[in-house]
Subunit: 349 residues, 2 copies
C-alpha cells in the first residue's frame, strides 16, 4: 500500500509533532450532543446527563494484530474503531466518543497516516461516534494503535457477562469463523507474492472471508433489534477472541456450564468450501477463529419465541449447572470439553 514509489511522500519530520496532530485532526468535527469539547485541550469534556457511561479500550500492534503487507491502512483504521465500538455494543450500550492514539516509526510518510485516519474517520462517521482526543508519537519500530471508546446506556439496559442463568439459551448473531479463514487466505497470497510478485491473485472465491478479515463491522443493529423485540439478554459478550473463549468467559463469570451444539454453529457457505480447500476442520475454525465481532448472548428460555425464525440470531446451545462443565456436543453426539485458545493461540500452530 505504501510502497508505490510514485506517490507523494512527506516525511513526518517535516511536520513535527504538533504540526502532524493539526494536519490529521483539523477536519474533525463533533456531532454528539454530549461532546462539549473535543480535540485541542488537555482533555475532552463530555456530558452524559442521567445515562451511565461505558468505557472500553484496545491496543493493536503491527506484526501481532495486523500485517500491513495485506492490511491496507484505511482498512486498519476502520477496523481499529470497529473492534472498540463492538465492545460497547456488547454491553448493550451506544458508542458515543472515541480517543485515538498512534505511535509510528519514521518509515511511515504523512500520506500513510492520512490513509489510516481516513479509515478511522469513516468508521467514526459510520458508527456515529465523535473523535474527541488522542496522542500521536513516534515508535522505534512499526505501528501501534490504541483506541478507547465511550458509550452511554440507561442503567437498566446494560448487559454484563455475569448474568447467564442455568437454563438460558445461548444465541449468536451472524456467522463465525470467516474472519480467521480470510486471514489464512491473505497469508497464503502473501507467500505466493513473495515467490512471484507478478502474480495477480483471483480472490473472488474468498471475497466474503477477506472482507470479514479486512473490513469487519460491529453489530450496530442488534441493540435496536433486541429493543424492538422487548428482549434483554441475561448476559452478552462480543466474539473477538473466538466463540470458545467467549463462551468460557460467560460461563465463568455467570457461574454456569454450557452445551454448545456443533451442528447449530452458523457458518457461511464460502467458509465450508475454503476449509475443504485448506483441509482444515471447519468446527475448529468456527469455535476458535475469532475477530468475527458478532454478539454472543444468553436469553431466558421463555424468550425463545421472540427470536425464533429471526435471521439475525441462531440458538447454538444452552447453559447448564456449573458442575456439568463446558462442552461441545459434536454431530456424532460425543461431548468434548471446550478450551479457551483464542485466535493468537491458533496462529501459533
Amino acid at each position: 500500500m505504501i510502497e508505490d514509489k510514485n506517490q507523494q511522500r512527506t516525511s513526518l519530520g517535516n511536520l513535527g509533532e504538533f504540526g502532524l496532530i493539526e494536519h490529521l485532526t483539523h477536519d474533525i468535527t463533533t456531532a454528539q450532543p454530549g461532546t462539549l469539547k473535543g480535540i485541542g485541550d488537555d482533555g475532552a469534556v463530555l456530558d452524559f446527563k442521567d445515562k451511565k457511561i461505558v468505557v472500553s479500550t484496545d491496543l493493536l500492534v503491527e506484526g501481532v494484530h495486523f500485517d500491513l503487507a495485506y492490511m491496507p491502512l484505511k482498512h486498519l483504521g476502520y477496523k481499529a474503531v470497529v473492534v472498540n465500538v463492538s465492545d460497547i455494543y456488547a454491553m448493550n450500550a451506544k458508542p458515543t466518543q472515541i480517543t485515538v492514539s498512534i505511535a509510528v516509526s519514521n518509515r511511515f510518510p504523512v500520506e500513510a497516516l492520512d490513509e489510516l485516519y481516513d479509515g478511522i474517520k469513516l468508521a467514526a462517521k459510520s458508527y456515529g461516534v465523535d473523535i474527541v482526543g488522542g496522542d500521536t508519537t513516534s515508535s522505534q519500530k512499526g505501528m501501534i494503535l490504541s483506541i478507547t471508546a465511550l458509550g452511554e446506556a440507561n442503567a437498566e439496559d446494560i448487559t454484563y457477562r455475569s448474568g447467564a442463568g442455568e437454563t438460558d439459551l445461548l444465541v449468536v448473531t451472524g456467522d463465525v469463523g470467516a474472519a480467521y479463514m480470510g486471514l489464512k487466505v491473505l497469508e497464503r497470497e502473501k507467500e505466493v507474492f513473495v515467490v512471484n510478485p507478478q502474480n495477480q491473485p483471483d480472490l473472488d472465491a474468498y471475497s466474503y472471508l477477506i472482507e470479514r478479515q479486512l473490513k469487519p463491522e460491529a453489530r450496530q443493529d442488534i441493540n435496536g433489534i433486541l429493543k424492538a423485540l422487548e428482549l434483554k439478554p441475561t448476559a452478552m459478550i462480543d466474539v473477538s477472541d473466538g466463540l470458545s473463549s467467549e463462551i468460557i468467559h460467560l460461563c465463568r463469570q455467570s457461574g454456569v456450564g454450557c452445551n454448545l451444539y456443533e451442528e447449530k454453529i452458523p457458518v457461511d457457505p464460502q467458509l465450508i468450501n475454503v476449509c475443504e480447500e485448506f483441509n482444515i476442520d471447519i468446527t475448529t475454525v468456527a469455535i476458535n477463529g475469532g475477530e468475527d465481532y458478532e454478539l454472543l448472548f444468553t436469553i431466558a428460555m421463555e424468550d425463545f419465541e421472540k427470536i425464533k425464525a429471526n435471521p439475525n440470531f441462531t440458538v447454538i446451545g444452552h447453559m447448564t449447572q456449573e458442575s456439568e462443565g463446558i462442552h461441545l456436543i459434536t454431530r456424532a453426539n460425543t461431548k468434548i470439553p471446550l478450551k479457551a485458545r483464542g485466535w493468537n493461540a491458533l496462529q501459533e500452530e
Copy 2:
C-alpha cells in the same frame, strides 16, 4: 532492573493472555462511588451523575518516552499514571478512573510486569483513581503503555486553554526544568556504566532532579488550593512538553500574545548548579525542558492579591494583545520570540 540473573523469571507464555490479565489485575479493587463495574467485562460502567466528564489519553513508547536502562519499571508505571491525571488536573477536574493498556515483547518476564503494575497501582491509590479496564498484549519490540484517564468536574469549574484575556497574568506552580536535567544526569550515568559497570555513582547532588524525572507527581493539591482562594484560572494547561510550548498553546487558543520574564521563571537551586556543571544555559532548560507536570495558568489581574506571596505560585509574565506576539523578556531586557520546541526536539540536539 530486570537483568539480575538470580531473580525469578516466569515466562509470559506460561500464563497466556487471559492468565496474565488475571494475574495482574486480581487484586485491583475500586473505591470511586461512580465506578459501577470495573475490570472484567467488555467495558467498564461508570456513573458521573450531574458532573461533566473529562477524558485524556497518553501513549508511552520504550526508547522514545522512557529508557528502561535507568527507569525502574515501578517508577515507569507510576509516572505513566501521573502523566495522565496531570491532564485531568489541568482541566480543573478531579481524576476518577483510568484504563491501562500494555504491549510487551517476550523478553519481559511476568515479574517485570508485576513491578510495572505495582507502580501503576501505587499511583492509582495515591491519586484516588480506580483502574477500570485495559488491554494486555504482546509487541514485536519493546514496551508500549497506553493510559486513558477520566475525571469529573462541575461544568462551571472546568478551565480550557482558550480563556486567557489580553491583560491576564501568567502563573506557574512549583519550579520547572528539573525533570529534563534529571534525564541528562541519568543519560550521562548510563554512558559511564557502559564504560565501567563496576562504577558506583554518587547521585546525591542530583537527587531532586532525578526524582523529578523518575518519580514526578501531578499537582493534585492545586485545584483545592484554587478553590480555597476562590480563584478560577481563565485558562490552564499542564507543563508536559515545556513551558515555551505550553505558553504558545495558551496564546494560540486564547488569541492573545504573551511576555514571559526570564528573571521570574522559578528554578530549583540544584538545577542552577547542575546546569553550570553541564555548561547548559539554565533558561533554555527551564523553558524547553518539559515533563515537569506543573500547572501553568492565567488569572485576571484583579485576582493577583489572592496568590501574592503564596509559595505554590509564581507570576512569570502577562498576556498581551495577539498582535504583540509571544516573547521572552531576558534579564538584559531584550525581547526574544518564544518557539515551541518541546522536549523531543531538545532531545535531538
